[in-house]
């Protein structure tokens, strides 16, 4: 299958400091790819490089296998949705959406009636029918972002680039817009790159997720792959609510603080880092190797109950999901085993 966007050895530095370094990434046609990473990891810079709003220090960008590195912004036909909307403040909603059609050269510009029809369709699509005459300042944040999306879609872009589109909105609106964006994507089928630093958002919304760190991509994969098989220690620590424990591996046994667990540890030996999420721990049956952990607190998180456990003095505390009906209380000692090993040799 053809590749919609390909970045090859892409790099960008500002005054000598690298924001994106030697980055390779492939985007499949029609997929919704989330770019997830901590603040400052180069997500925005990468998106702007794809749009042509920045020019790379090194490397190439290909659209549909054609080199687009030298193409100007206006010739790239990307739809860009900015974090702070960037709506034209002196134009009303309908004029904002029509802008990209009106600036076309006469030969390709649709007739006025056609433009009006397209704007009305887009207003319907983003559920803002009837608000065409409003000005941006008369809209809520969520509404503004939907106008921004409609404006980007109006030019029939070959890719849609969204930079933290819901970053400035409150949690409830974010969740609604997230579902709605997924629906729109499924309906219009645009290849979409979506920047976020909210992993819940990325994992819920995206077909695949690219994890950014220090200007590079650490791993690309489906949410399941990222969560279940993190490729690097950074990914393991960044996604999920993982706790990082320093451990030592020697001849198929795992040493955590004072405890020794007889578990097969794959290829890793020597000092290592173990990433533990609530679902990685379980109550041990009698036959399983177990650590005796002390319950520090029991909390309710949604429908489930979680115990906060101290494995040993000096180690970070970990959380474990309790089976339904379990009566653990603060101060109890529980036998705990690891059902999942996310282990990376220390660097």
């Amino acid at each position: 299958m053809a590749i919609a966007i390909r970045a090859e050895g892409l790099a960008k530095s500002f005054n000598g400091t690298a924001a994106v370094r030697d980055l390779d990434l492939e985007v499949q046609p029609g997929e919704l790819l989330a770019l997830l990473g901590p603040s400052g990891s180069g997500k925005t810079t990468f998106l702007r490089l794809v749009a042509g709003l920045e020019s790379p220090t090194a490397g190439r960008i290909l659209f549909d296998n054609e080199d687009a590195t030298a193409l100007s912004v206006r010739d790239r036909r990307v739809g860009f949705v900015f974090q702070h909307y960037a709506l034209f403040r002196h134009l009303n909603v309908a004029e904002n959406i029509a802008y990209g059609l009106r600036v076309r050269p006469r030969a390709t510009r649709p007739a006025d009636a056609e433009i009006r029809r397209r704007v009305a369709d887009l207003l319907d699509l983003v559920q803002l029918a009837g608000l065409g005459k409003r000005f941006p300042t008369q809209l809520s944040g969520g509404q503004r972002q939907r106008v921004a999306l409609a404006r980007a879609l109006a030019v029939e872009p070959r890719v849609l680039l969204l930079d933290e589109p819901f970053g400035a909105l409150d949690a409830k609106v974010r969740r609604d817009l997230r579902r709605w964006l997924r629906e729109i994507h499924d309906r219009t089928g645009h290849t979409t790159l979506f920047v976020t630093h909210d992993q819940e958002e990325a994992l819920e919304l995206a077909d695949r997720v690219a994890i950014f760190n220090l200007g590079n991509v650490e791993q690309v994969g489906t949410p399941d792959e990222i969560l279940d098989h993190p490729a690097t220690a950074f990914v393991a620590g960044f996604v999920g609510e993982a706790v990082r424990l320093p451990v030592n591996v020697a001849s198929s046994s795992l040493r955590i603080g004072p405890h020794q667990l007889r578990i097969s540890c794959g290829k890793v030996t020597g000092p290592a880092e173990l990433f533990v999420r609530p679902h990685d721990l379980a109550l041990a049956t009698d036959s399983q190797p177990a650590i005796l952990a002390r319950v520090l607190a029991v909390r309710r998180t949604g429908p489930a109950r979680r115990a906060e456990l101290a494995l040993a003095d000096g180690l970070p505390t970990v959380e474990m999901e309790l089976p339904a009906g379990h009566t653990a209380r603060k101060g109890d000692i529980l036998p705990v085993t690891l059902v999942n090993l996310r282990l990376f040799a220390s660097r």
Binding site: V73, F80, L87, F88, Y99
Partner: protein
């Protein structure tokens, strides 16, 4: 402000207000009234007759001409300076911003003298211009140059802070939507600063028509040829022709009043946009 620590006692407040109003009356309202009453003291006929005088008409015409050249040029200059400063990074940017303010900090007389030193008969470029049989000093071109120099900060200073505050996101959005650079400038950048621009044009125009010092140095005071309205007022006054002097002066005062009204209208209506420009 309405309550609590910042509210003054009523007596203090009334005293302060009375002081401010009294000061304004003494130094602004009374002189303005004096100008109009002096101009009309001998009746409307003489007032109107003052404007039939060919030298007066020439002075009015010259002032209009100078403003008609200086204001559009400074509009161009102000927009391009603001565009460069607000939207791009380049070496020497802070120096440029400082230089824009220069005419405000230099006495207008000095500004005028600079042009005499440059283009006068014994000036640096004087001989060069002589060869072309083209006069700058003691002629209209000198007056235009001096006026442009004195008034160029007005528009740039209104627009720069506003453009800086607005950033480049809307321009980038326009580019991604397929607009050309020029189109982006005309449909996004300019409309976003239009009220600040108009405001700057008003101030620039008022100063261009009213400038005395710099123009006086380069003009040569040739009646009917190189006299602008402010210079003509001085000449008439020195000749004890008070009615005519104040009649012309009342035109300038009227211009000031119109500017003031337009200015406060803009501030009332688009205050939010203009206030941003003045927060610096």
């Amino acid at each position: 402000m309405r309550n609590g620590v910042l509210s003054e006692s009523p007596a203090v407040r009334r005293t302060l207000i009375a002081l401010a109003v009294g000061f304004l009356t003494l130094f602004l309202v009374l002189p303005l009234l004096a100008v109009f009453s002096e101009a009309l003291r001998r009746g409307l006929d003489l007032f109107i007759a003052a404007f039939a005088e060919p030298d007066t008409q020439a002075a009015i015409g010259l002032t209009l001409l100078v403003a008609a050249i200086a204001v559009p040029l400074n509009l161009l200059f102000g927009i391009s300076a603001a565009w460069a400063v607000a939207k791009f990074e380049f070496p020497g940017k802070s120096l440029l911003v400082t230089l824009i303010d220069l005419p405000f900090s230099v006495s207008p007389v000095v500004s005028g003298l600079v042009f005499v030193l440059l283009f006068g008969a014994k000036g640096l470029l004087g001989p060069l211009i002589d060869d072309w049989d083209f006069k700058i000093i003691f002629a209209v071109p000198g007056i235009v140059l001096a006026t442009i120099f004195v008034t160029f900060p007005f528009i740039a200073r209104e627009v720069i802070p506003l453009m800086q505050e607005q950033g480049t996101a809307e321009e980038e959005a326009a580019l991604t939507l397929g607009a050309s650079g020029l189109r982006t400038f005309l449909t996004v950048t300019l409309p976003n600063v239009r009220w600040a621009l108009l405001y700057g044009v008003l101030l620039c125009n008022a100063r261009a028509m009213g400038e005395f010092g710099a123009v006086s140095v380069v003009s040569g005071h040739i009646r009917g040829l190189t006299n602008t309205m402010p210079l003509h007022v001085e000449i008439l006054y020195n000749e004890y022709n008070f009615v005519a002097a104040f009649a012309v002066a009342s035109l300038l005062a009227g211009l000031a009043l119109v500017t003031l009204v337009a200015k406060s209208f803009l501030e009332g209506r688009y205050g939010d946009q203009l206030a941003r420009a003045h927060r610096h």
